[in-house]
């Protein structure tokens, strides 16, 4: 092999500078599209649930999205718990979906908190509608049960459960 020349050195050095240069400019160009610091500093939302009568749903806004707080009836809870989990599109037990609904160690399964965004393409489903009387999505006809679990497609997943906690009997903090 011939001795490397000054020209070889310049060729490799220029190429390396070009690759590093392109990479270090490309990443900021891509990354600037992601949520900025003010969006990331997401506030949590406080909800007073005393106004939500049994069998009704309150919609609150959190991170720009609707969140449904549903005060379920005893019948709805009982039905939601007795569904054969394995037969569901996205298998999950009702207990699992309301496991954050506790106050001082006591379960409160009457409170269901879910993000009101259809897992198909993001529409807001309508409450107390559809064959399961849970939610019905007007966009492409997905149906959810009173546990927010998808029962009929095209939606592939259950309504998402956000992080939340009851800080007092009537006080719910989302986020």
């Amino acid at each position: 092999m011939a001795e490397p020349t000054r020209r070889d050195f310049l060729y490799i050095a220029t190429g390396a500078a070009a690759v590093v240069g392109v990479g270090s400019v490309a990443w900021p160009l891509v990354s600037q599209m992601n949520p900025d610091a003010s969006t990331l500093a997401l506030a949590s939302t406080e909800v007073d649930v005393s106004s939500i009568a049994e069998d009704s749903i309150l919609t609150v806004k959190w991170r720009g999205k609707p969140v449904f707080v549903r005060h379920r009836t005893a019948k709805e809870i009982q039905e939601a718990q007795s569904v054969a989990t394995a037969s569901l599109i996205d298998p999950q037990s009702d207990q699992d979906r309301v496991k954050q609904s506790t106050l001082a160690g006591k379960a409160r399964p009457e409170w269901l908190v879910v993000i009101g965004v259809c897992t198909h393409l993001g529409c807001v489903p309508l409450g107390h509608q559809g064959d399961y009387d849970g939610w019905f999505c007007p966009c492409h006809g997905s149906q959810y049960d009173p546990s927010g679990r998808v029962r009929r497609g095209p939606a592939p997943k259950n309504l998402e459960v956000p992080t939340y906690a009851f800080t007092a009997d009537t006080k719910l903090t989302i986020g």
Binding site: P35, G64, K65, G122, C123, G153, P154
Partner: protein
Amino acid sequence: MSGPSTYVPKSALGRWFESRLPIGGLIHSSFVVYPTPKNLNYFWAFGGILSLMLVAQIITGVVLAMHYTPEATMAFSSVENIMRNVNYGWLLRYLHANGASMFFFAVYVHIFRGMFYGSYKAPREVLWILGVIIFLLMMATAFMGYVLPWGQMSFWGATVITNLFSALPGIGEPIVTWLWGGYSVDNPTLNRFFALHYLLPFMIVGVVILHVWALHVTGQNNPAGVEVKSVERDTVPFTPYATIKDAFAMVVFLILYSWFVFYVPNYLGDADNYIVANPLVTPAHIVPEWYFLPFYAILRSIPSKLGGVIAMFGSIAILAFLPWLDTSKIRSGRFRPLFQIFFFGFVIAAMGLGYLGSKPPEGAYVIAGRLLSVYYFAYFLVILPLLGLFETPRTLPATIADDVLAKGGSAILAGAAQAPSTKG
């Protein structure tokens, strides 16, 4: 097809300029002496019409941008301000909104023209693919433009369409967040869509230049689908023949466009878009603009999220492969008796899908949507590949001139060629 230009400017200043930048010769060889097949029909006028519409959209768009505010709390009212207070604002906005529809109407005629006369076949594959790229850019531009007035359909259309990407396994959710610049469609989304809506039309201009360049390398196809054999016998110069025919077609097209703008400016729009965007309430029926309906119907026909998204993008991408899927050596559908039947079946299927896309996704509509989607794909993947192997075509004319003469055009043709300035 065009040889080196023999153009010599008449004035001394023109000659001085031409020897420094020969743009006059470029225009002269591309749009004056450029040979066009004698037998072109009015379907060939839509290329010119499309260029006109692109210019119209850019002019009305730039003017609208001088009054529009791309900010979530002000966008809707700035559009209302354009409608009520800006001088002729109502006209500019109606021209722009209906212009998008007319643009798509013209592009669909243009695409069906190409599909019937086999304009995608060798040697015009690159020309065809550039056209498919223009179509994709047009769809992206119109989609983002429709978000700008920030009405209910703007917001929910943007939500549904950007969420399509969430179907991709693993990377889907991060991509959607990246597109939105947040956790839902919001101000950052509107702002970037405005920037891109301004940019993309100029990228379309760039691809249109490549498209016309490729066209002028291979020459135009024509209704007989046989190549030009003799420039003298088979072609006429672009100017005055094609120029005047295109201009006449543009005027007729503008009459239709004006009818929409002045008599039914909101007919093609959706009343829900005059309600300001509300992230907490989805309208009862989300319907995209009419020009997206066939693809929307395909999306909804597949009962799986990822499958639906693949089918929808596939239905557009498949166009790019058309030159290799059609195995027939005959270009023009005029000489393919079986192809004609399947082609018109395809046109009806595409329009039927458009109708179904506007209906709620339930019952018989879903079943019909599935059947037509199957036909849509079968046309490309089964019918065209097989037809070329089994079909017996009719006899082709030997030349374009023979084709014209066979139609009894000899007298007119001879007269026109000899005395282009006399009426006849």
